[in-house]
């Protein structure tokens, strides 16, 4: 990929990242951090690519370790964020559902 295209993507993504979270209440800081944390678990894609490229056992072993870690990050991250946000369900449905 050519450098200018990459730099453009990078710079635009920086601004989108800044913009998207600039006005968030402190209540949502933790779920937002956790959600962003899950998103960088997409390094799983990179881990799978290097596992495909691996030629030696050492390389394969390291890439597989990376796949395990990245999967934990990504899947665990989304699940735990969802659990946090379960608590924020709208009040009406919470009342309907009862307390227990």
């Amino acid at each position: 990929m050519d450098a200018i295209a990459i730099i453009s993507i990078f710079v635009l993504a920086v601004f989108v990242g800044f913009e998207v979270v600039s006005k968030v209440s402190s209540t949502l800081h933790t779920p937002l951090m956790s959600g962003a944390n899950a998103i960088h678990g997409v390094i799983l894609v990179g881990a799978i690519i290097v596992a495909d490229h691996s030629e030696t056992n050492l390389e394969l072993g390291l890439s597989l370790a990376a796949i395990v870690l990245a999967t934990i990050n990504m899947v665990g991250g989304f699940v735990v964020t969802d659990r946090m946000l379960e608590m924020f369900k709208p009040k009406k449905s919470a009342d309907k559902g009862g307390e227990k």
């Binding site: 998207v20 933790t30 962003a36 960088h40 997409v42 990179g46 990376a66 395990v68 990245a70």
Partner: protein, 469 residues
């Protein structure tokens, strides 16, 4: 799958991540936002099985399936078996540690990917590719070891206080200089030994970087390390020619940086002070003669009587409430007081508990009506008209030392000004100071009454005593 289609799917996943972060910024759309993010990540992961990325020096990839296909699938399965139950079973109180741990393994994954990529880079690799690879190794390792230390602090496997040793700042500066020096060596010499040296030094730097951070500031550091991991993912994207990784990593890096700043602001700290404050802080001017000084401790009945004749009560929850899982009991108490015509509000400090928003999550679990939760700025002016402030397992967030004692670790942090209330009740397990490790003068105040014991047990006793009145 053609390379165009693969790239378009990557772009789609990137857009899903933007929508996810956008959704997560508002309470109503937060849950949907998270699901959109999970969907994008799943699609991106599936697409990588259907398109082979050419390795370095090749024009096109080999034919499908991927090399080591079954190994890859097995590794993903192992990750699922570890990650999903951990995320599902964790107690609400331990969620912050888990987020720290997930962030750490993500950083570790990025570092490993970069190491393998480095071993694969041939002589035709450009300097830029080598630099980005080295960057990922360094920052990924720092994020990994740093997150492990934050995990240990939050799990209380080690002291939550800032760890400072003589000449600490020189050791840190020296390690950083060594990391930079070895980085240059790795870029110019290209070899496995320099790379491993670099990885070890980076891991060490991550540990040293987080050790001096005090307990209450740990969430800010997790957020910062989260942003770091994002940047490593973006750098990996450059080396692996993956637009998706560049977009996703940059988004997390940028939003994580903003979030870190917002969290630091919520605590009234500068980021610099958070990270390096322990080196400049003066010795604490607070006496350690805790046991000798008289405190007024009361019984559940005393508390019930006080509450029964109050007109306005503010409940200030803290980490102790979470530990005792007393959120349902506190709601019961609040409902009982409301039925007696008492004006009840919950005063929520933005960083009460172990993470911003921890208390909101906890009380929402007990279905506490949203309109009873008052944020700090709302509730602070009302303490003057408040008859009783009940502080449940909170300490640092109500400690007046933050306003009166320059040089103490939490100085400058906005607090809930319960000291302005007519009566203060502390529900505490012991006289032990809070997470930041600072003595709280308020405990010795004549208008303070202490009720010792587990928060849930104490609250249950207060509820039955109040019912009997």
């Amino acid at each position: 799958m053609s390379s165009t289609l693969y790239s378009l799917i990557g772009l789609g996943a990137g857009v899903a991540f933007i929508l996810a972060l956008k959704g997560l910024s508002h309470p109503k759309t937060a849950r949907r936002g998270n699901l959109i993010g999970a969907f994008g990540a799943t699609v991106a992961t599936l697409s990588v099985f259907l398109y082979v990325t050419p390795s370095h020096g090749e024009e096109v990839g080999h034919s499908l399936p991927l090399h080591n296909f079954w190994w890859i699938l097995g590794a993903i399965l192992v990750g699922l078996i570890i990650g999903v139950p951990a995320a599902r079973k964790v107690e609400m109180t331990q969620m912050p540690q888990l987020v720290a741990l997930f962030n750490g393994v993500g950083g570790g994954a990025a570092a490993l990917v970069a190491i393998v990529e480095y071993l694969n880079l041939g002589a035709e690799a450009t300097t830029a590719e080598v630099i980005f690879t080295v960057f990922t190794v360094v920052v990924g390792c720092v994020s990994f070891s740093g997150s492990i230390i934050t995990f240990m602090k939050l799990q209380e496997l080690m002291t939550t206080r800032p760890v400072v040793f003589p000449g600490g700042r020189f050791v840190i500066a020296g390690t950083l200089a060594a990391v930079l020096g070895v980085s240059v060596w790795v870029v110019s010499a290209m070899g496995t030994t320099p790379l491993l040296t670099l990885a070890v030094l980076s891991l060490l730097f991550g540990v040293l970087f987080v050790l001096p951070v005090g307990g209450a500031d740990v969430p800010i550091v997790i957020s910062l390390l989260n942003a770091f991991t994002g940047l490593t993912v973006a750098a990996s994207g450059y080396v692996l020619s993956s637009t998706l990784l560049i977009i996703a990593g940059t988004l997390v890096g940028a939003s994580g940086t903003i979030l870190t700043r917002l969290m630091a602001e919520a605590m009234g700290r500068s980021l610099f002070g958070t990270l390096f404050g322990a080196f400049t802080a003066k010795p604490q001017a607070v006496s350690d003669s805790a046991e000798e000084r008289p405190v007024r401790s009361g019984s559940a009945d005393d508390v019930a009587i006080l509450l029964n004749y109050a007109r306005r009560v503010v409940i200030v929850p803290g980490f102790g409430l979470a530990v005792a899982q007393a959120q349902h009991t506190v709601r019961e108490l609040a409902d009982l007081m409301i039925s007696k015509g008492i004006d009840v509000a919950y005063g929520i400090h933005p960083v009460a508990g172990r993470m911003p928003g921890h208390m909101n999550v906890l009380l929402a679990e007990a279905n506490v009506p949203y309109d009873q939760l008052a944020e700090m700025d709302e509730v602070n002016p009302t303490f003057g008209q408040t008859d009783v402030a009940i502080v449940i397992g909170a300490n640092d967030v109500v400690n007046p030392a933050a306003q009166t004692t320059p040089g103490c670790p939490i100085y400058g942090m906005p607090i809930l000004e319960v000291n302005n209330a007519a009566n203060i009740i502390f529900l505490k397990r012991s006289m032990r100071p809070g997470f930041a490790g600072i003595e709280n003068e308020l405990l010795y105040d004549p208008k303070t009454m202490l009720l010792f014991g587990d928060a849930k047990a104490s609250l249950t006793k207060v509820v039955s005593a109040l019912k009997a009145l």
